[in-house]
Assembly symmetry: D3
Homo-oligomer: 315 residues x 6
């Protein structure tokens, strides 16, 4: 399957490629009867509008958002934006799909991230916590999901690999902070950092589209994550009761406040630090993206940043 | 084990009975060296202060709050309040303890309540939900806890049997409301009503003292309840996935708002109604207790009611 | 007066009917001088855009929103939406106007609702409260308004007959709940339920358009309702002072919280229940409408529901 | 009836006077059986504890808070505070009671205040508003209440005459501000200022004790005031509908925000200014009292001022 | 430099004038290749869209928002709005620019306002405060900024001269209120009123465009104002320490609440009054503008007023 | 000056030492006329009540809180607490006072902390920021205050040396976090960390008693700190304008939110991180103190921790 990435499409050149159908709509012709089909096609580098001028109404029912389609088209421009005129379109039925070509992906290398994560896990001395982490990371199906899931749908690290990237960042920040405050139970804090968002594996769907699953919307990653970790602990006979309770509490409380959907607020130092450094990573990501946003511009101030509810000073 | 209930103790008469030791404190004599031991004794009808004038310092380490003690004492009065002078005190080691004699108990009859609950369960037609409820209610150990646990430590129905009383009230209110709004999925709503607070079985300790357990304080009854119901569903092969998700969501969202510790807000009608009628039962209880508070007084207004943040008009 | 309901207009067929003029606007021709008149016409089944291509500027001042107009038109389509081209338009001056043809109306039958309401009123034993309700319901002018007024402009039951429908729902819910909590003063609660929103009779205008009156915006239905009920009570010599105060308080406090525009919060059980079941009826309506919204769609989730600040799960 | 004001009682001198009984309590003797009666007596200059050593239990039921009692006593001191030992006590049944001797009274002269108010009323040109004010101020029973009622139970101007003092202050501030902002409808603003708190006449009881009435607690002075002014307007045929609505709205909205118990927020300039200058007078009173509190002390900072939620700088 | 004010442009007449370029955008032709340049031109009377049909893409980089441009154009209309077709455009490089021709200006006369301000300053008796005000007002560069700066970018008095107009209003309101509450330190209050917003001189840029400066966005007028006043006081040897602290506190606290960006809340009466009358002037301005908004309309209600979060009643 | 530290006083042994007088009060004898003087004496190890039985009323005016007094006393016990009976008391007038003996002091060594701070300062490469820090740290008077001031009166690090300890912690945490997020301007972040609370030098009084100064209460450490840093920058010609603005902004915004008294919220990454790690250090301190509170107790839960609004789990 060859993809002509959308960021490389140029005005005037023909396009032959597979894309992800993101949306579809019928629209009436101006000045004559009938309707044409307007679709948005996407890959991991962006998205583009395309029109199918003939048989739009028949074709409408043949494709759905989330389908991969193989198209041929020529390129034009409308109101300053590139636009495709499709001459042929078919569902792509190849088996060799690499979804990461169609969805945004973490800018960081997955293998490097897993290697860094491994070295953190190796540094954990507590046998119960080490066993728990090994149970997860030696399960290749789980690990595939853990390293593919996004960290969010819209906000920080909203791309494939985002969960891994975010969890690693939080674990590294915990590692560093544990050097300043030596009263911290480092093993517990790091285990919490690695597993705090593990429920996102099932909170999101991330084949074809990054979206929340029904389970994600009805239960959320805190409850899903607690169930996932608790079942793993059940498989480890002799796991300390107190450690189990503390670890589950860290997942339950990592949003820090009730209004941020934590059913409990942090009740000991490691739970509090996990919350604080989880938040910090999300905010660092938001500040950094906002400051980079128009890095070529000489404007001193960013556009309004919704997640941070402020403008960012970039000078 | 014979108990002389505290509400029946009279000035001038001797006391010989078993009580629950609620607290202990050493206090210096006024005007001479040394200390005496001051304890508070309780049973389900109230509590009373008692003094041990001799060997207080030695005795201090022999008893702890939560112990049952057998005492002999004579009765006096101090600042208008009854007070005991203990002449002998020992740990009670009998095996025949009926804890409901020492802790406050629901004014409603447990058997009657269970009978009413059964008739509601019998009226549920959906086979999955009926099977789930039968699984729970046919487990005598679980049922014993469900009908013994309190509904709270301080607020509504804070006594043994409170969970059952509250769950039954909510189920009955749901039954009635379902007659007005016929679009409701009655079976789902009633099952949610019966099971929404089931996590309180482990959120509280209710032997010797009604208090929150460590698990209760670190995870809370919402998470504990979800785990309990989900494990029961796992034991019922073929249980509808969608019903499972909806029922777990109803437990997750029954506090209604994030700031009331629900990690999700109600996303469908039955979940919303369960939240609303759960709240209503707690508030009806608070209004009713406040209005009864000094039912003999001719005051038009109650004292300040903390749970309701208001005074209640009683005329 | 014959009306061709808007939901029945079909592309290509002529239209001859009376409609309510909902809005008007002059718009410049594209590519030539001058302006045409763009109006929106409505009846209880929906609304439609219509254009008057000639003499638009002269006609503009002859019609105002709220007028009934008799039009002749042919039908076309623009951007997939039906659109009328008007050839003749005049103010409709017939005397036989049934406004319920032009404004949305409760889906429930008015007579049935009044019958149900009567049977509730008949069940009230307290002579003062029974007399008060009879005074209102035997006044045919008042009854006409009570059974015509909407319950809201935008939110729940925002149609003619909405006040009656909502008041009946609340009264029925109160009736059922009173069976569970027998300590309730049922007569007071039901009377409060029937009269709590009575001020909406004057808070809204509901001839020609459903909108708030100046009085409604400056005083609100709580103050208007208190004045209305208090004047009725003045006409009933010997009415209990305490009942009067409690009933007026129930109106004053039925929004439950200051921030929902109640100048007092409920101070006794019946006032609290009225607030709670009033809120519940509005929310049940919102959940039910949201779940029905696109009942043909196979989407599991509704669109964003503004009144509930959430998406609704429909599976 | 001769009163020996409490501020004039001196250690060692006998007391023979009428006071208001503010509270009563039985207290056990230390070191012997039986109880004595402990009462608090008050007048407008302060309060003092008094003990009745004999027959306390019998006497307890003969007196109630709010009674005037004639006592004979000698004076002692306990823990640095003056204290009376009562030898004789009887209900005072004289008809000549001047309650202002027993309750705190405005430091300002009532006649002077009424004169200032009159001159403001004289300056109002609008005939409807002038007629309305004259209707009230020519009713001597009403005027007596208006010039006797307190402005609050605890907060600003919590003494007899407080309503008049506060209303006059607000009217004077409105007068001054109307000189700066000449777009103001001065007559409307001044009428609103004079009448905005008129409902306090019935919201409080101010014979024997300053306290809220049942009506005050269940309806509040906003609703009571609207009813009072609306009935007066009904007695004035031809009163402008629009002025009536605006004046009633000014009463309804004068607390400014829903959370301060206004069912409407100010919708035009005069309503907004009334709210703002009403608030300002209450706060000026609080700041001034706090700064005077220990005017002899050389402390730079006041004690915590609860109404203002801050400490006040006094240098 | 001759300006043809935008409010005087008429359809069909040629335009030759200098304007401020407010924005620029390239837009594709409909139906042919290439782009034209669309600009918005403004002066203090309004703004107008203008098109440059030829060489748009080349011209785009020659002009920036904030430039003065001299243009020749003819006038047309599009969708009912006036529109210019520019035939020649050049940067205006004259030295004689009176910016007040291009930016909105206070409707009040600057000289009159300064005269009124002077008479207030003359009435201040405290020698330290009088010296401080004289130091500022005798500095002509400072005075020029003080009488040119706006009071805001968007909200109240958002035009040149707005700071002076607002400061004068607040000072006059303080003057009047000080007549009612004679305990006020009038000199301190008036000095605070005149200087409270002095930091706005540097918080805003008001040449070419009214906008916040980087300093304004990063520090704000409270901190800038404190630094400005404190440096002036340093130049006055012997200035009372306590007066200095109180005056700086009044600037620090004049927004009244933390959430309105005051780092301190008012701690004495004059600071509180300054806050309250500052707020009042801003709100009077908002109410007055809202009521005037469509003064010719017969609508009883204004459009939604964002600053006041309400509709305004205009009858 | 020899001090017998309070933690070392033992029942029955005489005391001869200098202490800080923390409070004084006259109290009446029980059972005879006259008053004795009750004082609280303190040093850095604790406080103790002492009584002066003779001439109390005369002595009362000779001593004030904050005075050092030399006393002789014998020791007794009252209600289980140690208590001194003073036989002689005089103001201590020695010149050799080491206040750190009388006020609580950081448990960390001042020289060690300054050394750690120096090594951080040495690592800063930016010449402007390095020069600024050197200017401060080479000023021995300033450095003495910076290393003596407390970080708070009641909350975190509320002891002498607390400012230094807290600033060092925050700087170290910033150092570590800068290793994880390499996009950070490390020099700016560290300089901000070292100087963010510098205004506390004048916000507090910390001779004799730790309390807020008038300046501290009226302006606060944010404004005082900005003035202090800005004056230092003025002494450094050529200091970057942008760095100055960013550093002052970091001080202005380091409380993060308006409601925490920051007049600006952080507008770039370094300002945000400073806020977050400042907060984190205060909270780590609070969690750690709470968990240590009764380190010998076997209770799983701490007492209520007011600063954190929760109980802490200690197992």
């Amino acid at each position: 399957m060859k993809i002509q990435y959308i960021e490389n499409i140029r005005h005037g050149l023909p396009v032959d490629s597979v894309y992800l159908l993101q949306s579809k709509r019928l629209q009436g012709f101006r000045g004559k009867a009938g309707k044409f089909l307007l679709v948005v096609l996407g890959d991991r580098t962006g998205s583009v509008e395309a029109r199918i001028w003939e048989n739009g109404e028949e074709l409408y029912d043949k494709f759905n958002p989330g389908d991969l389609v193989k198209i041929s088209a020529d390129t034009g421009e409308f109101k300053g934006k590139l636009q495709l005129n499709i001459s042929s379109i078919n569902i792509y039925r190849g088996k060799d799909v690499d979804w990461s070509a169609f969805l945004p992906v973490s800018p960081k290398d997955k293998k490097e991230m897993l290697k860094s994560m491994d070295s953190i896990i190796m540094s954990i001395n507590n046998p119960d916590l080490a066993a728990l982490l090994n149970l997860f990371f030696s399960d290749s199906e789980w690990l595939n999901k853990y390293s593919t899931a996004p960290a969010a749908k819209k906000h920080h690290q909203a791309y494939l690999g985002g969960l891994l990237e975010h969890s690693l960042n939080v674990a590294q920040a915990c590692q560093q902070i544990a050097r300043v405050y030596t009263q911290i139970n480092r093993d517990l804090l790091l285990t919490g950092a690695i597993l705090h968002d593990v429920g996102k594996i099932d909170e999101y769907k991330y084949e074809r589209m990054i979206d929340m699953s029904d389970q994600g919307r009805l239960l959320g990653h805190i409850i899903i994550g607690i169930q996932m970790v608790d079942r793993a602990i059940e498989a480890l006979p002799g796991f300390s009761d107190n450690l189990r309770l503390k670890l589950l509490h860290m997942i339950a409380s990592h949003h820090g406040e009730y209004e941020w959907q934590s059913p409990k607020r942090p009740k000991f130092l490691e739970a509090y630090l996990l919350h604080q450094l989880d938040l910090l990573d999300a905010r660092v990501d938001a500040f950094t993206r906002a400051a980079e946003d128009r890095v070529d511009s000489d404007e001193a101030w960013s556009d309004w940043v919704k997640d941070l509810e402020r403008y960012i000073y970039k000078k």
